[in-house]
């Protein structure tokens, strides 16, 4: 087996033991490790334990029972085994946002929409753009919303003043809409994404 495969196997085993520790809040016994990892003999488990002890993943007490080492902090395990000590840069990057988190606030209520019209052109929303729509958010005056007005769907600025509600386009060629009968807000537009390549 190549060195990489060996390392990955060890890493997976550490993960299994770490999962056991985090779900049961105790370290597994030798026979439990054997069962978990498919090792038939206690001797094989013992060899593994010695190896993990060297990596400071776990320790043994006076009676030979296992005590968690770095395994108690699963994130650092990766650092220890794969790349020596966890580097400071790694720690700093723990708090960074992914583009997903940056664009999406409430994952379960978020939908995408491909824009086809040009009524919001001056708000920087062009035909073909992707807008991100949040269905779970209460619409406020000034928000861009997806709305159904008297049976027609549209995307406009929502303007509320007292009881007066209007949908304002961002294109001089369109007129503001005042709903005659019914206005249903389908969601609030929280971002626009335009991919060039």
């Amino acid at each position: 087996m190549s060195y990489d495969a060996e390392k990955e196997k060890l890493n997976n085993r550490i993960k299994e033991i770490s999962n056991f520790y985090s779900t049961n809040s105790r370290m597994p016994s030798y026979s439990e490790i054997g069962e978990m990892l498919g090792l038939k003999s206690k001797n094989a488990v013992s060899k593994l334990v010695v190896k993990l002890e060297q990596l400071e993943v776990l320790r043994r007490d006076g009676k030979g029972r296992l005590i968690p080492g770095s395994i108690a902090f699963p994130l650092k395990v990766l650092g220890t085994v794969e790349a020596g000590f966890p580097s400071p840069a790694e720690e700093e990057l723990m708090d960074s946002l992914s583009l997903d988190d940056f664009l999406i606030e409430n994952q379960t209520a978020t939908f995408l929409l491909k824009v086809s019209g040009d009524s919001m052109i001056e708000a920087g929303i062009l035909p073909g753009d992707m807008v991100i729509v949040n269905k779970g958010q209460a619409p406020k005056s000034g928000d861009i919303v997806i709305a159904e007005v008297d049976g027609e769907w549209t995307m406009k600025y929502l303007k509320k003043r007292g009881d007066d509600i209007a949908l304002i386009p961002a294109n001089p060629r369109f007129k503001p809409i005042r709903p005659k009968n019914e206005l249903k807000i389908g969601g609030v537009v929280t971002a626009v994404v335009r991919k060039y390549q």
Partner: protein, 437 residues
């Protein structure tokens, strides 16, 4: 005698069952508001009704009806191809929303979930009814689909509740009122009781769920096996079935089936379909770190007759490369060159955990090592570039014919109208609204 309650405590436990109403059709209506209020049907690619919206059901459309019949009964029905990608996204979201309320959520099927609410009243400062209503409201608001909810002392009772009033129902069955809900419920409507057991119960003079629940333990012990004794306990408000949280990753078997239209008598094409099914089943097995010891192959002929054969594998594996020769042999033994075939399928059975597989003395370890390297690479490439980036040549003749020619060949909107950067194999994991603005 029939008016005294089955259980005198209101809520020794509180288990919720949530069931999405006409799920696939509701997803389509949520994404395309113009479909709201209209009879919507999914399953175009299968030629039969997979799901029908309540508007369609009201017009007499039933599940599994042929689409040609649908057009006669309801000519204005909107018939759409199934978009399983989108339905799965909605399904995951339902479970995620429920997990905001309770950590104990069982993902029972694509559109059903059980949630253990016991003890959460203090946390939310409100009654079980109010918690259930809040859960229902959140799902309906964020996803735009209707769901029915039942709360009871056991899973069986929760299910009685969610079915009691559909769509958009909310039914609470406290201990003191169980008998009221079981009184008119025929035994065959109880979760877990099939046609045969219902017939047997009828012979014993038991017609309704309440009659069954009121029988004494001695009687139930004498006549029924354990599963039905458990149902009896659950009906009496004594919870037996736990709400199990772990998502499904232990399988008894993995099966992959594909239909194609029109039926084909091209042997290469039919075998390629089978080979592709095998590849798909193996991908799933590898994802769950499982290996198969048996392989079942079946074909459906034009006259809808099924033929199948079970094959034993030399060693537990999830690599198609090791199974194709056997697959070919099995295929040859059941394939009839003179008749067209309409469907192929494989089942991987006798699954065991990948890392428990023991090599025998006679296994060619070098070859196995090589296989494992190849498929690791294939899986890595698939992860990066999408499923089937690399595939077996035996699956290539699937391209000889479109999966479904003619009307059934329609693909869902999501797969046609893509965003820049998306491709046939990989798209963004968010549902896309289908409105023109």
């Amino acid at each position: 005698m029939d008016s005294h309650p089955l259980n005198i405590r209101s809520w020794p436990r509180a288990i919720l069952h949530l069931d999405a109403d006409a799920f696939f059709a509701s997803c389509e209506q949520a994404l395309n508001p113009e479909l709201k209020g209209k009879p919507v049907i999914t399953g175009k690619e299968r030629g039969i009704v997979a799901a029908a919206s309540y508007e369609a059901k009201a017009r007499g459309i039933k599940r599994a009806m042929r689409l040609s019949d649908v057009k006669k009964v309801c000519p204005d029905a909107v018939i759409l191809p199934s978009d399983y990608e989108t339905y799965s996204l909605f399904s995951m979201r339902i479970f995620e929303i429920l997990k905001r309320f309770s950590p104990v959520v069982e993902e029972y099927s694509i559109d059903e979930a059980f949630v253990d609410l016991t003890g959460l009243r203090r946390n939310f400062h409100c009654s079980y009814g109010e918690i259930a209503a809040k859960m229902q409201e959140t799902v309906e608001k964020e996803l735009g689909i209707n769901v029915s909810v039942g709360v009871g002392l056991s899973k069986v009772l929760a299910k009685v509740g969610s079915k009691h009033n559909k769509p958009h129902g909310l039914t609470l069955i406290p201990g003191k009122e169980i008998h009221l809900y079981l009184e008119k419920l025929p035994v065959e409507k109880i979760w877990g009781i099939g046609a045969n057991t219902a017939a047997f119960l009828n012979k014993l003079g038991i017609k309704t769920a309440l009659e069954f629940a009121r029988r004494d333990e001695e009687f139930v012990k004498e006549h029924f096996s354990k599963p039905y004794r458990e149902i009896w306990s659950e009906l009496n408000g004594k919870s037996i079935y736990p709400v199990t949280t772990e998502s499904k990753n232990s399988y008894q078997s993995i099966s992959k089936t594909k239909t194609f239209t029109p039926p084909s008598r091209d042997e290469n094409f039919v075998f390629a379909q089978l080979s592709k099914n095998l590849e798909n089943a193996c991908i799933k097995a590898r994802r769950h770190k499982l290996s198969a010891t048996r392989l079942i192959v079946f074909l459906r002929r034009q006259d809808f007759r099924n033929v199948g054969v079970e094959l034993k594998l030399n060693r537990p594996t999830a690599y198609p490369g090791e199974m194709l020769a056997i697959l070919k042999k099995g295929f040859k033994s059941i394939y009839l060159p003179t008749t067209p075939h309409r469907q192929t399928g494989v089942v991987l059975a006798g699954l065991e955990s990948e890392n428990k597989v023991q090599l025998t003395l006679f296994d060619d370890t070098a070859k196995i090592e090589k296989m494992s390297k190849i498929y690791n690479t294939v899986d890595t490439l698939s992860k990066k570039f999408g499923k089937h980036t690399v595939r077996h040549a035996s699956s290539l003749p699937t391209k000889l014919q479109a999966q479904h020619e003619g009307e059934r060949g329609d693909v869902p909107e999501r797969k046609v109208n893509m965003f820049k950067g998306e491709n046939v194999r990989q798209r963004l994991g968010l549902p896309v609204l289908n409105v023109n603005v």
